[in-house]
């Protein structure tokens, strides 16, 4: 029997990037906010102290900061009709667990999606006609435009101290930045990162080919930065331990460095860790959330009543909690009806590994977002007529830390083990870099989430089931982009290269990207979206579902910048409209 707790105004399910910002802003406006987090507390000090912070086995291989799969995982299959099996080990993607979520162990690459991305379907139809879209493609417009979101991108970038060079200020193209980006109202709060040897070589080669290289937008601080909440982030020292690690310098923007120190001081905020939410409780008509039920680390069940329930977990947990709670109609791919679980998408990555005989790169130095990139082949920045696909992505060369268990490039054809492997590893460890082709992924009728019929979590509840594979559009796009990357590698003087476009069935085993999107997508039509353009549930208006779960399809960019913008966009709607008159906003 659950113990019923005193009602509060707001509860956030998940205390990561979105949950901390929303809690801070709503607590400031006088509301009582409770944050429920399934994992534990962790902070820069002492959790990421040196020298233990630089332990590749513990963090990169054994996933110290990631989700505990023994309690909950998801099941996976390539296609409807296959039997889904549980993801027993993490591979393809790495969701976080604990305060800060995945924003603790991210790399820090912080983009804005293109204006085109928010109007993918209508702009594709207008420019190319409907034959450009695969019949089963369910990509759609977001219900908001880039212009709607621009002020919110700006707020997030200034909160997280993003380092970069604007390429488009109020419509004026700026030298040194990304000329393809949407117009910005002002410059980045911090200058871009330093340029590594890899970045310089890649940038020179790209320029020679007539392309437009620029430094990646980064949440690894290029100087000490005090954000609008009055918190000061440290300066990055290019140690090369970002992705999968916490930052010992407090130099990577995260809830810990950019929000929590002030949030935790708020008398209106209470954080409860090791609290696993199992259900949002609805009223008898299923039109209103009345509370959430969670289980604590001693097995005690609590019911926390709240006026406003914010689902602020990773994509999978947001969608699963909606399904477990009966919020919105579950998606049925056979009938193509319902919305919750619809339009799961991912990232279509390929790569080119470039080997050199006469250069050294010191790739163990770097930072998560230290990268030189081009955006010439992203979105609709290039003519797709006759190409047989839509979308694209950035193509970039990173210096994000060559830690040797995972970074051991050898030319293709080298044996996997033995003396020859050892010689090639020794020879090329410091003479190699990779070029990533970071491609978009459209949404399709058969790519979706639902609840698994067989496998259960530690509380006896069904796991989320993922059904996913790439389609022709993605294979063609990846081939196209990876050829472009190979041209740049050649122009840079690579003596040999491994060229690996995305081919074959999607596998959940090798790491690809923690850029999972969709399942509770936003839009203007309740028949094709689970939340409206303010990320409010169409069916249960006092529930908002915040995160990349709202992306109707995935763009060619890392999602965090756009997740941050959507957070502030939803926040503004809650503060300026919903709180004054609770009810549907659209």
């Amino acid at each position: 029997m659950a113990t019923k707790l005193k009602a509060v105004d707001v509860v956030t399910v998940g205390v990561g990037l979105t949950g901390t910002i929303l809690a801070k802003e709503l607590a400031d406006s006088g509301l009582k906010v409770v944050g429920l987090e399934r994992g534990g507390w962790r902070d820069t000090h002492p959790d990421f102290d040196m020298p233990h912070a630089h332990d590749e086995l513990r963090y990169a291989r054994r996933h110290e900061l990631m989700q505990d799969l023994s309690k909950e995982t998801l099941t996976f299959r390539n296609a409807i009709g296959d039997t889904a099996l549980p993801m027993r080990y993490m591979g393809s993607f790495l969701p976080g667990e604990g305060v800060g979520g995945a924003a603790v162990h991210w790399n820090g690459v912080t983009w804005r999606f293109l204006p085109w991305d928010f109007e993918t379907r209508s702009r594709t139809l207008a420019r190319y006609g409907k034959t450009q879209l695969a019949e089963e493609c369910t990509s759609q417009d977001w219900g908001v435009t880039y212009d709607d979101l621009e002020p919110h991108f700006d707020r997030f970038e200034y909160l997280y101290g993003i380092c970069g060079k604007a390429g488009n200020l109020k419509g004026q193209i700026q030298p040194g930045g990304n000329p393809f980006e949407g117009p910005r109202s002002r410059e980045y709060p911090n200058p871009p990162m330093k340029t590594s040897h890899v970045g310089a070589l890649y940038g020179k080669a790209a320029r020679e080919l007539g392309l437009h290289p620029f430094p990646a937008p980064s949440a690894n601080m290029t100087r000490p930065y005090t954000n609008p909440y009055g918190l000061t982030l440290g300066a990055c020292v290019y140690c090369g331990y970002c992705e999968r690690f916490g930052c010992e310098m407090g130099a990577k923007a995260s809830p810990q460095t950019a929000v929590l120190p002030v949030l935790m001081k708020s008398p209106n905020y209470e954080l409860r860790t090791l609290a696993s939410v199992v259900r949002v409780n609805l009223d008898s008509e299923k039109k209103r959330a009345v509370s959430v039920t969670y289980v604590d680390s001693r097995g005690r069940e609590f019911e926390q009543p709240a006026e406003l329930v914010l689902l602020t977990s990773y994509v999978f947990s947001n969608v699963r909690l909606m399904l477990l709670s009966g919020i919105g109609k579950p998606y049925d791919p056979a009938a193509n009806s319902g919305v919750v679980g619809r339009n799961y998408a991912y990232q279509t990555n390929g790569n080119v590994t470039a080997f050199f005989e006469d250069k050294v790169f010191n790739q163990f130095m770097g930072a998560g977002a230290l990268s030189m990139m081009i955006d010439d082949f992203d979105g609709d920045n290039f003519d797709h007529a006759g190409l047989g696909f839509i979308g694209g992505g950035w193509i970039g060369a990173a210096s994000s830390g060559g830690r040797p268990i995972d970074f051991r490039p050898v030319p293709s054809g080298t044996p996997r083990w033995g003396g020859e492997w050892k010689k090639a590893t020794a020879r090329y460890y410091n003479r190699t870099f990779g070029i990533t082709t970071h491609g978009a992924c459209q949404s399709y009728r058969g790519n979706c989430f639902d609840l698994d019929p067989t496998y259960r979590d530690a509380y006896g509840l069904p796991l989320l089931r993922m059904t996913f594979d790439f389609r022709q559009n993605e294979y063609r796009m990846s081939e196209y982009m990876t050829k472009k990357a190979a041209e740049i590698a050649k122009a840079a003087g690579a003596s040999r290269m491994n060229v690996t476009p995305r081919t074959g069935k999607y596998s959940i085993v090798p790491y690809q990207s923690t850029h999972n999107t969709g399942g509770a997508v936003m839009g203007a039509d309740p028949k094709t979206s689970a939340v409206n353009k303010y990320l409010q549930s169409w069916d249960v208006p006092n529930v908002f579902v915040i995160g990349a779960s709202a992306f109707p399809q995935n763009g060619g960019y890392n999602p965090t910048g756009t997740v941050g913008a959507l957070t502030f966009h939803a926040l503004e709607a809650i503060k300026s409209r919903y709180l004054k008159q609770p009810g549907p906003l659209a």
Binding site: R88, P224, F364, W417
Partner: protein, 265 residues
């Protein structure tokens, strides 16, 4: 820009948290003793009457098997020690005895159909149990085929058996041979390149092979020195906790740079 002055460079962290790195701080150097971390470590170990390192999980038979197997996966050669010399067998023992071996933080509930390659690990066996079964089955195969256990075969025969496991040509009874082999190879690479605190990468053999400096220094002054090799004595976690290596105010290693003739690769 080439480093011309002096063969050893001592990169000092110029960046206090919240303080910008002043221009020109890059070359700032500080006198430091000419220490060799490994020699110092050896002295340290003698002084501390080094604890023996008992195997906790593996039997003697299994140790013999793994010593032989890992010496093929990463052999000792003119480039330096191999996996056996680097203590990879002991590393694997420690991993199997701990959370990794028992699938801590992994999903272990059944049912366990074999699934597709795209669905990944679906065995009801923990890694510890995979090794136990895989080693026994491989030894059974070797006895049947060659009349001896794997460790007693010739190098050439051992190589053939490993290739048979790798390619799936040898069928094992209780685990798929490639499944066992891939786990062994992945753990061997981990043991060769992980921080020595886990019992492998002895004398930092793996890091020295590729020129990885281990626990990082502040690289801000160096990241823009393009095409200049950065050759440092690698620093491990224990070098710092035992105060063998020097650190800056944030705990980053102050690397001792190698002479060119010590630099190896």
């Amino acid at each position: 820009m080439k480093e011309t002055s002096g063969r050893r460079r001592f990169l000092k962290s110029a960046a206090a948290l919240g303080a910008a790195i002043p221009a020109g701080a890059a070359a700032q150097s500080k006198p430091a003793p000419n220490v060799d971390h490994d020699k110092q470590r050896a002295q340290h170990m003698r002084a501390a009457a080094a604890q023996p390192r008992p195997y906790m999980f593996l039997s003697q038979t299994e140790v013999a098997f793994l010593d032989a197997a890992v010496s093929h996966l990463i052999p000792k050669d003119e480039l330096g020690p191999g996996a056996k010399e680097a203590g990879v067998t002991y590393f694997i023992d420690q991993q199997l005895f701990g959370g990794y071996g028992s699938m801590a933080k992994k999903y272990t509930q059944g049912p366990w159909p074999e699934g597709t390659p795209q669905q990944g690990y679906q065995s009801p066996l923990t890694p510890a149990a995979v090794y136990r079964a895989g080693i026994r089955d491989t030894n059974e195969y070797c006895k049947k085929t060659h009349g001896k256990t794997f460790d007693a075969l010739s190098r050439a025969q051992q190589e053939e058996v490993l290739k048979g496991l790798d390619g799936g040509k040898i069928e094992l009874e209780q685990v798929r041979s490639q499944f066992f082999f891939n786990m062994l190879l992945a753990n061997t690479v981990e043991g060769f390149f992980a921080d020595p605190v886990y019992g492998g990468n002895r004398d930092k053999a793996g890091w020295k092979l590729v020129g990885f400096p281990g626990v990082a220094a502040v690289y801000t002054p160096f990241i823009e020195k393009h095409n200049v090799p950065y050759r440092a004595q690698p620093v491990s976690i224990a070098d710092i906790t035992q105060k063998i290596a020097q650190v800056d105010e944030h705990g980053h290693a102050i690397h001792v740079m190698l002479d060119d003739d010590q630099a190896g690769v």
